[in-house]
Symmetry: C3
Subunit: 343 residues, 3 copies
């Protein structure tokens, strides 16, 4: 076999009373699993061209033994899964096709949060349709149509069922906390977020799935689905980054490196490197902007969408005239030109 | 008897060490309970003109039996309550008068969140004075003056008492999750919120008590107490809706159908249908607005309060002049005129 | 001995598997402990010039007995700590020097949240370096490098390890809820926040460590590290207060008494008393502001930093010209002058 598989994961999860999957936790997902791992699984009698394998403890013990010589760490985890009487599943994704099941969807979200693939690095087409709406509680995941009964039963016992989230996406930190990050309030980072090393998400920060930061960076505002923020960039308190070019549809927004969006500011256009938007200013694609030269003289008036992705821009609203202005940082531009000249 | 009662609920709750109610959970509150239910309760020896009835398991078993033929579902719940040694209470509200006790206040909040009455649909006068400030923890509701002791005791055992809220109002989802909603972060929806079917409250969304959405809608901003957002309306990330006409006092704000408040925007006036406020713009009642005709020519300058409740308006701040403008969508206005002509 | 000690606390906490402190809970920290307390500790054989004392139950019982006659309440708490097999520690800070250990850092944060010292009232130099990054879970504090294992073990048992925060600072309410406050969503108030009596922190409110409110006040926006908000001041929904004069570096921001920052507004300068910033307006130090006299005539144009700390100012952006204006409230100024004349 020479085929390179996309991904693989041994998971443990939750099903509703109709035995439908609600969620799956993959302690050690693999991107492009090596051939030995696939062979070991095949030798234990599992068809590696099939994506979903609901495994017994016996199955897992056999696979654990088969993996011992080639991947001791995975073997240990698989052996531990074998000790649990919770539902266990093996997901094998031969190729990166749209997820067809809850376990497949969860494996893909894990791949991103484990930093194995970047946002947009795996096909999530149709994910919303695949994932069920789940009540996330202190007693684990509960099907929403089984919640009221569980709440009453808890009350009868004198307990409280704490329902922290009712959503298709759980919080990331209950599945994986990647190295070198702080997340002051974890409810605001969905599984499927990608947080680069050195990222701090403050209490007002938010990161959707299939979005994130290259890190390091200080995130005190909202990173919408699909958006990636470059290293060394700060998103100020309450700042907003629209998911796609505002009014534009398909162009996904992003921030380059060394950017700053001030508190309560926002952007509806992608920014290049070293861009700043002042606190309280929201730039949308249609915002008409006065471009100023290094002497503060007007060059021209353009719609912000024409500046999409450009570097070394500073956006502000002149506080006497109300005009939104864009200054180019001359030294930065020269540096940039030089860099381009050596590309 | 021909009197129509306002509401009724069998509850299970928490009391402090002085036997004062802290909170009550009503699994199945009733609006306008039918006469059979009231008769069954009366037959069991309870005076239905009295609002509060602290019930023993024996009382509940008797009522459960009496209800079996007329309301099997309620009978089952009452029977379950009988099995618990937690404090149980029956609240009967003959009329919709201001709440006089914690159980009455909680029943009214349940009525709204169960979608049995709309916001402003029940008299909540004096509710703040009736409800105690409570520490909401993973061990249930704890009186704030008994919290420090409970925290120390938990620590001695090696446990943590997780205090998630110190407030008069608990989170809604620990009492009821209505059908067809998602609430990404439940701490931001108070009991007493009304979420219409199809409502999604994102992480930055917030809904106060006696406020809510007709649904469907995407709520990523803040719905203040008293505010109702019409169906098909979106409240953008971090957007703010003041509770009453800003500076105006009594007029409660609301959004009609098909509205959009852009991210980090806000309104201090009620909006009619199909209105838009651009991202980052906050309209207050006193904001002077340039009204533009369909050709972009100025019609007049008005204070935003004069536009309160009107439909088909688009508010923006011109990014070159700083002037707040209001455009009327001509086709929408014609449609609106036609609708009015057929009223 | 005549030396006045700075602070003292008996704590119970958590250590990682390498016996390093992760966090400490001090149920009753003392500022300037009296000589009898220090003597009692010394008599039990502990050198009060040493800051850290890891105590056995035997040690604690002895100290509890020695304290009984001079501080019965502390004696009782120390006696309770003796009953626990969790790690116990006594911290004695002879002087207010920078914290050198996790227990010292936590004692200082407790001093602020217990209202024993005000923000900036204790030396926190180097605190970030002293405190470890911790995973705060429903099973208590867990070292981040031991979290993945704990998460897997919980899953094998069918439990969920709820990871609510991954940060150097825990939420305040799991350590202390001061009297007379409401905190609608506790995840947004860090240990080390100072909340004056009568403070309400709504769901969108946030208070960092070494910051807070004199109370009473309604906080629906963000109080950055170092900032103090005076009594009777309201911070509107989503409003932002920068930690230091924007662009200025060292001058810490603050709000005086009776101020209001409107929803989604913000300030990068300190405000005096009775100042208002309208909803949606962000004032930074560099904002050029048109000063108006009582007739609405322009006096001059100044940078907002020149107005730092002044009282009786109202900031707004004129909605037709886009100019940021500052009005002085004449009657308030006269009142203020009169107050000053009688100082």
């Amino acid at each position: 076999m020479t085929q390179s598989y996309f991904a693989l994961g041994f998971g443990i999860g939750t099903r509703n009373s109709r035995d439908e999957w609600l969620e799956v936790f993959f302690p050690r997902p693999l991107l492009n699993p090596d051939q030995q791992t696939l062979d070991a699984i095949a030798e234990c009698g599992h068809d590696t061209s099939t994506p979903l394998h609901e495994l017994s403890s016996e199955n897992l013990n056999a696979i654990s033994s088969a993996l011992k010589s080639t991947d001791a760490e995975q073997a240990e985890i698989v052996g531990k899964l074998a000790t649990s009487n919770q539902p266990k599943v093996l997901v094998i994704l031969a190729s990166d096709s749209p997820p067809n099941s809850v376990p497949e969807g969860y494996l893909k979200l894990h791949l991103i949060s484990h930093r194995l693939v970047k946002p947009h690095g795996t096909d999530l087409t149709g994910l919303f349709g695949v994932l069920p709406n789940v009540a996330w509680t202190n007693a684990g995941a509960i099907a929403v149509d089984e919640l009221a009964e569980a709440q009453l039963e808890a009350r009868l016992r004198g307990d409280t069922l704490e329902v922290s989230c009712v959503d298709k996406f759980p919080k990331m930190t209950n599945y994986i906390v990647p190295d070198g990050v702080r997340i002051a309030h974890t409810a605001r980072v969905r599984l499927g977020a990608y947080l680069g090393e050195g990222t701090t998400i403050m209490h007002e920060g938010f990161v959707n799935f299939n979005a994130g930061t290259d890190g390091p960076g200080m995130i005190e505002g909202r990173i919408s689905a699909g958006v990636v923020v470059g290293s060394g960039s700060d998103v100020g308190g309450g700042a907003s980054i629209m998911g796609t070019l505002s009014g534009g549809g398909n162009l996904v927004n992003s921030l380059g490196t060394g950017c700053l969006i001030g508190a309560n500011g926002g952007t509806g256009i992608p920014l290049g490197d070293n861009c700043t938007i002042e606190a309280g200013l929201y730039i949308t694609a249609g915002t008409k902007v006065v471009l100023l030269d290094e002497h503060g003289h007007e060059i021209e008036q353009v719609a912000a969408r024409e500046l999409a992705g450009q570097s070394n821009l500073l956006f502000r609203r002149h506080s006497l005239t109300g005009a939104v202005q864009c200054l180019r940082n001359k030294s930065a531009i020269e540096l940039n030109d030089e860099l381009h000249a050596h590309n």
